[in-house]
């Protein structure tokens, strides 16, 4: 059986969540916008799910359902820019869905300001805030760094940005946060917040954009006017209802998992204790479910494939494998070239067992040693 430790990439659908999905695919599959009474009931299911999600995430704004994280990011970023000129502040460690969407605005004449990140992948808040001024239209940051697991102090960043320019729209990518760490949207205070359902044991193809009260987002997709006209297209009802269930389950496990996953990390740390020249990219204020490791003088992708031979799946620090290109994030967190290629990302889920983690720890140590021997030893 495959031992899956790449839960930042995607997760296995929870059986309970799958039941909901199945029901909406085969029994109550009606179009929520149609006129029949059955459809009305479905439309109501969406409303209930929306309310439930807002409650679970502690927000009193709008929740717009989309096809996933990338679409939510695009909708929020492109949809909130109203002025013809100005600047956008973004951290160098953003996910491509945010980073590339923001940088695409450079072609339309907006100034893009990239800010520094700390060596653990967290945002250098002072640097970030220093880039915000009266002309800042949008400030983009992420809740949990998808490569290192660093948790950012979103409330603080948001407050500091708003102190400088209350008109700046604050956008937060919460894809690696929802269902993995506690999220309270009212407390965080951001204007826009995005998440993706397949990251917390629900299906691929669904996500949402949270819009704080009073913030306006222009639609990027036109059509039948669903989702209050902000995102047209027939709603993926099953996924929406299932998503609410999935967040409910995930939230109920948050504190237990935090404890369990940190224990998993310790098991791995112990197994690697006698291995020199490696670093854990983020230790303090790190998402319990993410462990990012950088090994000097070996390639993360090779290590990944070696582990695959034991049916163990992990992620690499970057999806970028081109020969000369260093990962944007590896570079941003200041990894030196001999470390930057040797990054792997282990990300846990509730389906991992203690035995699996022990096995992973043992195989990981073995693979690193043998790979180093092959690559360096003569």
């Amino acid at each position: 059986m495959i031992q899956y430790f790449d839960n930042c990439a995607t997760t296995q659908v929870d059986p309970e969540v799958l039941q909901i999905l199945n029901k909406y695919h085969t029994e109550t599959f009606f179009n929520p916008s149609a006129r029949s009474t059955f459809s009305l009931k479905i439309a109501n299911d969406i409303s209930v799910a929306r309310e439930k999600l807002l409650k679970l995430l502690g927000g009193n704004g709008e929740l717009v359902f989309t096809s996933g994280g990338t679409e939510s990011d695009n909708l929020g970023i492109l949809g909130c820019i109203r002025k013809k000129s100005g600047n956008i502040v973004v951290t160098a460690s953003e996910h491509s869905a945010v980073f590339n969407t923001v940088t695409s605005l450079a072609n339309k004449g907006y100034e893009i300001r990239q800010t520094k990140v700390n060596s653990d992948g967290s945002i250098d808040i002072d640097d970030f805030v220093a880039h915000v001024d009266n002309d800042t239209l949008l400030a983009c940051f992420m809740h949990v760094n998808n490569e290192t697991g660093a948790i950012n102090d979103i409330k603080r960043i948001n407050t500091l940005v708003k102190n400088i320019n209350p008109n700046t729209v604050t956008f937060c990518d919460g894809v690696q946060a929802v269902g993995k760490i506690p999220v309270n949207l009212n407390y965080l205070g951001v204007d826009l917040y995005t998440f993706s359902s397949h990251k917390f044991h629900c299906t691929k193809g669904a996500g949402a954009l949270y819009i704080k009260k009073g913030v306006r987002v222009n639609p990027q997709v036109l059509g039948g006017g669903q989702e209050k006209g902000i995102r047209s297209g027939t709603e993926y009802v099953g996924a929406i209802v299932a998503m609410a269930k999935a967040v409910e389950i995930a939230n109920s496990l948050l504190s237990d998992n935090g404890y369990i996953f940190n224990n998993y990390k310790n098991i791995i740390r112990n197994a690697l204790a006698d291995i020199p020249n490696f670093k854990e990219n983020c230790v303090e204020n790190c998402s319990p479910s993410i462990m990012s490791l950088a090994f000097a003088d070996i390639k993360g992708e090779v290590l990944l494939h070696m582990l695959e031979q034991y049916d163990i799946v992990v992620g690499t620090g970057s999806a970028c494998s081109s020969k000369n290109k260093q990962s944007r994030i590896a570079k941003a967190i200041g990894l030196t070239p001999n470390y930057s290629e040797g990054v792997i990302r282990i990300s846990f889920s509730k389906f991992n067992t203690l035995d699996q983690v022990k096995n992973l720890a043992e195989k990981l140590a073995f693979c690193v040693k043998s790979l180093r021997k092959t690559m360096l030893g003569k």
Partner: protein
Amino acid sequence: MQVLIIRYSEIHLKGNNREFFENALITNIKTALKGYTFDFSRSNARYVIRNFDTMLLDDIVDVVTNVFGVHSVSVAEEVESNYQAISQAALAIAPTTGTFKVNTNRADKRFPIPSMKLSADVGGDILEQHPDLKVDLMNPQHVVNIDIRENGKTFVYSKVIKAVNGMPVGTGGKAVAMLSGGIDSPVAVYMMAKRGMTIRCVHFHSFPYTSMQAKQKVLDLAKLVKKYTLRMTVDVVSFTEIQTAIHEQCPEDYMITIMRRFMMRIAEKIAKNYGGGAVITGESLGQVASQTLESITSTNSVATLPVFRPLIGFDKDQIIEIAQQIGTFETSILPYEDCCTIFLPKKPVTKPRLSAVEKIESVLDVETLVNNAMQTIETIVIE
């Protein structure tokens, strides 16, 4: 009725072997058109395809013009051999502006109007309809061709679409080509298939040092060149044991030279196993360290079969141009590492002396390593 006329290239030069070449070409055209419905017939020095779905005409033309041995094709209207039908068909395809001429070939001498007169009369009909046109017999912009066949039918067409030429695949012997995933090797396969070779590919894979995506990329490339080779099988060889053995036991700067020698030995073994008579590589002289005369000498010395290097005298630009033309370039440049880039020495030897290479290599148990690698072969038939 709309038909496709196919003309073949230099195979008409072949005397007693002509039947062999023609049979291969016909089989290849039919293989390439697998999945389409059509009727195929042989006529004098050409083939005619009839009764196909005219909505798929462009696809069929694309397929046929890429079959080696085909010289050109024309989309023609096939009509009864009588003046009215011929004139009508000619008018339908006639240009409306510029210069033109009508060209008649009267294979059926029973047709009552002589060629010159028929051309003049039909030309007159066209001019009457399109007074802006001018006749130019020497250097016309458009030609309306009338081909009166012996069977009482006539082809009327204007355009002659150039095809790839070359020799029919299957008439030039069998070979094994090394397919790396780069830009050059698919082009080399294309070039030798163009000379009629039946080609099978070998790919060296170093899992876990190279990814499955790298292997998939090679299979994707194999599928792309199958358009020209018509059939394609890839033997994927695990090269990990050999590479780690070389890395552990030989000096770093000789890594690539010795690797290439192993690849050549294995490629040749595979070739011999299935009756192949040559090995094909995408080497281009001086392109990289392993492609200097000295490196090629080192690699070549382990081969007993002829090694064809169709790109040896090509510039990279020229190779890229062909890769783009045959549709492999975009896939070739996908950034997955092939086995040549791992353990890449900082400074590979560019002028290895054969005696030195042999001495360095002698620490390895070459025969066992090659035999072990042969055991790992995964044969993949590209559908």
